[in-house]
Structure formats: C-alpha cells, structure tokens
C-alpha cells in the first residue's frame, strides 16, 4: 500500500535534486513547478451531503477541467465514501515536493478525512479519472489517541503524513496532531500532549525548522454553527503557534488580539528560503503577515476588509476571509470574502505591504447572483480557492461548512454549490471570470451537494512545500 518503491530505479539526488526522467513527487523548486507542470486536466473536489435530507454519503468529485474535453466543467466521477455523515472538508496528498529525498515515492494517494465523523479515507488516484478508496481508518482508531475532527493534511518529508486534529475524543479541547505512517496506518500522536489547546491549519518550512499552526475552536463549539455567545465567551481562537518542526514543540505563541479572531488558513511563501507567510483571520476579516523578525516571529495585520452596510442586515456584513493562498511564484496573494462575495488578488512583492491588484465579484451578499448570464444562480460566496501551478487559472467553490452554510446561505442546501474559475494574468495582475466554466453541484443524481476543497493530481499552491 505504500507509495515508496525501494525496488525502483535508484536516482542520484545529491546533485542539485535532479528530477529528470524520474516520476517521483513534486518539483525541484517552485519555479520548476511553474515551468514543468502541464495545465491541470482534472480537479478533485470534496462533495457533501452531510446535514441534508439527501440520503447519500459524501463523495470526492472528479471534475473535468480540460477545455479540450467533451465533458469540460462536468463532474465525471464521484468516489462515494462508505458511510454517511463524514463532512468531507480538507484533504491532502501522501507526498509532495518536500519528499524529494524519498526515492520512488509517488504523489498518488489522497488522505481524505471526515471532519465530523473523524474517519480517515485513503484514495488511490493511480487512475486519475477513476480513483478508488484503498483504505479506511475508522473513528474508533482515531479516538484511541484522544483526538477527533481531522482537518489539514500535509505530508512530511520522511514519507509520513501529518493531520491537524481539532478536538479530543469528545470533541472538546485540546486538539493536536495525528501522524500516519507510509502504509497509511496511524503512527500515533505527533506532538507531546498539552502543547496547544485549539488547532486548525498548519504549514511548515523545513529549511527553517519552523511550523505555524492556527486556531478555530473546539469541535463542539464550531460543529453546531456560529454562535456570537461563543465569541463573547472566548471560545474561538485568536492565536498562532510557532513550532520547532523537528522537536514538535511550541516555541512561541502569537496572540493576534481582536483584530485576529479565528485565524484559519495559514500559508508560508513557497520559496524554501522564505520566512514570510499569511494567515486570514476569518471573523475579524483581516489578513495577517507573519515573519521571522530575527529572534522571534511577529504577525501584523496588513489587509483590513471593511464590513459593509446591507439593507437586509441589522449589522454591517463582515467580509469573512475564509480562505487564502499564495501563487507558486510568491508574487500574489489571493483570498475570498465569503460573505461579501468577492475574490481579491494582492501583489505581495513587498510582503509587509500588500497592494490590491484586482478584485472579482461572484455571488455572495454583494456580488451578482448570476455572475454568468444564462447560467444558474450562485447562492454562496467564493470560498475554497485553488490556483493552477502556472498561476493562470484560479478556481473556487462556495460552501464553507454545512452548519455555517445553513446560517448564512440557507439556500445552498437546496440548490447546491458551484465551482467557478477566473483566468488570471500574472504579468498584469488581473483576473476575469471564465464564462464558459461553471460546475453545478446542484445537479447530481442523488441530489444537490455542497462543494469544498479542490486539489490537482500534480500538486497545487496549497500543498507543496520545499526542503
């Protein structure tokens, strides 16, 4: 079951990490990913039925994103999970460019956790258009480590896989990290218990021996929906944790304060030399720049999305920065304002002074409900983003989390999500909506589905790390 092939052709990697003629995971450098990757032909997208009356399990959708294909912008395959009730959410690869020293290891298996069920699925993508479930780790095996609510999946350079876990076995705090071995079995808890209380996303920069993790809340707090009472009771996170990556211990905790409520997606720049990164504080609707200031890490708010008045709302509508990513060339930051309905593109050539380059509106509370004339209504806002490795195509889906969708975009349960795409010009810093591309998750055999995270078979801007 392992993707390591000790019997494979030996490759001499002592010489400039040469990947020539080798089918292993990833690319020598971020620039090599841009130059050598082919445009994506399929996308893997999480599809959800949990929390609706559709009596079907969640699935991984295989979306045709090849413009020359007859089934362009269609869901051409659905890998159904064996159980209902998972809430598929985030997922990740067994290997990425950080595994460059693992000769023969391939980026072939997707680790697909159920956020609510705590069940972890392993999907083999050897046949890219017809992936198959290969292994399932049942919730009871996860609970044995006093962990639940698996979220972010990153491979680590030795062939193992690390998953952020947001709760203990009761869905309460503290969370932690679960390690899987290269055979996709639980290896154990990664860090000594007690390092953190809340957890959410994480990213590591191995060259600097650093990992940064963020905070959502206890699963019991965020699972049922967003309740202001929990914000007032300090049940939501506002901290970043700076880890010693090798030791698995927290070296520093940064309190982002009221401007940094619910820091979610955490992205270092891709250059292995960089000690700069960004995190989106969803509730405060701010983007923070974090960086190594010499003796410690610091985090400063660098983008503030102003709440906007809306005739139908009693209070100004926050943007809700729910996802953000950095282009492979580290020149642009993209983020979504899920409640407003826009995607923004910032020039980050000066990392501490992002400059708004372009902005695109589609759905949400302020964007057009029919961003593509003649196409179906979009009932959510831009949410999970994914960018092509060459930085020229930005895709997104519209669902955040089933119970939160029900509060803010209740029609999404009935009408389903969409996946949209913008063409990006990374030379001129512009985006334009591709009016020939709309994937309708509302029109599926079992019923309308939600759509969440997106990945490409050959790596993407939110999973690849370099040593």
């Amino acid at each position: 079951m392992s993707d390591a092939r000790p019997g494979g052709d030996p490759v001499d990697r002592t010489d400039e990490h040469d990947h020539t003629g080798h089918g292993g995971p990833g690319y020598t450098t971020p620039q090599a990913a841009i130059e050598q990757s082919e445009p994506e032909k399929v996308a893997y997208v999480m599809g959800l039925y949990v929390g609706t009356d559709v009596d079907a399990p969640d699935f991984m959708g295989v979306v045709d994103v090849d413009p020359s294909s007859e089934t362009y912008s269609e869901i051409v395959d659905r890998v159904e999970m064996p159980n209902r009730g998972d809430e598929l959410h985030h997922f990740g690869w067994n290997a990425c460019s950080s595994s460059c020293h693992m000769d023969g290891l391939e980026r072939q298996h997707l680790i697909v956790p159920g956020q609510r069920s705590s069940r972890i699925h392993v999907i083999d993508t050897a046949d890219r258009r017809n992936p198959e479930i290969e292994n399932v780790i049942e919730p009871e095996e996860v609970f044995e480590h006093d962990l639940s609510a698996p979220h972010t999946v990153h491979c680590i350079p030795n062939g193992e896989i690390l998953i952020s876990m947001l709760g203990d076995e009761d869905g309460d705090l503290p969370g932690g990290f679960l390690a899987l071995d290269e055979n996709f079995e639980i290896d154990g808890r990664w860090e000594p218990p007690g390092e953190i209380e809340m957890n959410y996303d994480f990213w590591y920069q191995p060259r600097h021996n650093v990992m940064i993790s963020s905070e959502w809340a206890a699963p019991r707090t965020y699972y049922p929906g967003f309740d202001l009472e929990d914000v007032e009771a300090d049940n939501y996170g506002q901290r970043l944790h700076v880890w010693d990556w090798e030791a698995g211990t927290v070296e520093q905790t940064l309190d982002l304060g009221e401007e940094g409520l619910i820091p979610l997606e955490t992205r270092f720049l891709h250059s292995p030399e960089s000690t700069h990164g960004y995190v989106g504080a969803a509730l405060s609707s701010n983007v923070f720049h974090f960086y190594d200031a010499g003796t410690e890490y610091r985090a400063d708010p660098v983008i503030d999305v102003e709440a906007r008045e809306h005739d139908d709302w009693d209070m100004p509508v926050p943007g809700l920065v729910t996802d953000l990513l950095v282009s492979m060339d580290d020149r642009y930051l993209f983020f979504s304002n899920w409640l407003h309905g826009d995607v923004r593109m910032y020039d980050i050539s000066d990392p501490s002074n992002p400059r708004l380059a372009d902005q695109l509106w589609a759905g949400g509370n302020f964007g057009p409900s029919h961003p593509i004339e003649g196409e179906r209504e979009v009932v959510g806002g831009p949410q999970m983003l994914q960018l092509s490795l060459d930085g020229e195509r930005l895709y997104w889906t519209t669902s955040l989390f089933s119970s939160w969708d029900n509060q803010f975009y209740p029609d999404e349960a009935e009408k389903g999500s969409v996946m949209l795409k913008a063409d990006v010009d990374p030379r001129r810093g512009t985006m334009s909506l591709d009016e020939d591309f709309l994937v309708d998750f509302g029109d599926l055999p079992a019923g309308p589905a939600r759509g969440h995270e997106i990945r490409w078979p050959d790596g993407d801007c939110t999973s690849d790390v370099w040593q």
Partner: protein, 115 residues
C-alpha cells in the same frame, strides 16, 4: 416486547419520528439502543455526523416523552436543552416518545447573528 428469548425481554418504546415537511414514521426503540440506531435498523435514515454528541447534525426536538443521553450532549447549549432539543445519535428512549426530526432541525440551534 416480552418473549422467550431473554434478549427480546429488554424493554423497548414506540418512538414517533415526525419529519419536517415529510412523513411521520413509527419505530420501536429498545431501551439500550440509540434512537438513531433503532431507526437505521428499520430502514429509516436520520441525519448524523460525529455519533459522539459533539456535532449536532442529528439534532431533533423532543415533543413528547422522556429520553436520556448516554454521554453528555456537548453540541447542545443549555438554552437548546431547555427548549427540548436532543441528539438521537446518543439518545436512549425512556418512555414512548415523539420527535421532530430531519436535517432542518439542526438549523434551529443558531441563526445569522447579524441579520
């Protein structure tokens, strides 16, 4: 339902499941089995997620009768419990019950706080 088999001598209760905007179903729930499991056994699908009482996906409202949660219903705040909300994934019937069920019930727990 008493019988010769000691297993079948375990007490069970009639539970009425009233789906919002849907049919009403009646199941027999053994006292030691969760309402979710008892419904599944009779081929009736209720929504669910964590199965540990943390997530609230299965939230239902108890309209009549008594039930116990076999572990703390962490997804429910005190105001929810006082209003009769229960979690069928960890709920054991203690008398004949009538429940308001279906995926929509969960969305009663919280609304858009700014609208």
């Amino acid at each position: 339902m008493p019988g010769d088999d000691p297993e079948s001598a375990i007490e069970s209760y009639s539970v009425e499941l009233r789906f919002r905007d849907g049919p009403t179903e009646r199941i027999e729930a053994p006292a030691g089995e969760t309402i979710l499991d008892a419904a599944e056994e009779e081929g009736i699908s209720l929504p669910f997620g964590c199965l540990t009482g943390a997530c609230g996906t299965c939230t239902a409202r108890l309209l009549e009768g008594d039930l116990d949660h076999k572990r703390p219903p962490r997804a429910l705040k005190e105001r929810h419990r006082e209003a009769g909300y229960v979690l069928p994934c960890i709920a054991l019937a203690r008398s004949p019950c009538v429940l308001d069920v279906g995926a929509e019930v969960q969305s009663d727990l919280v609304s858009n706080p700014w609208k």
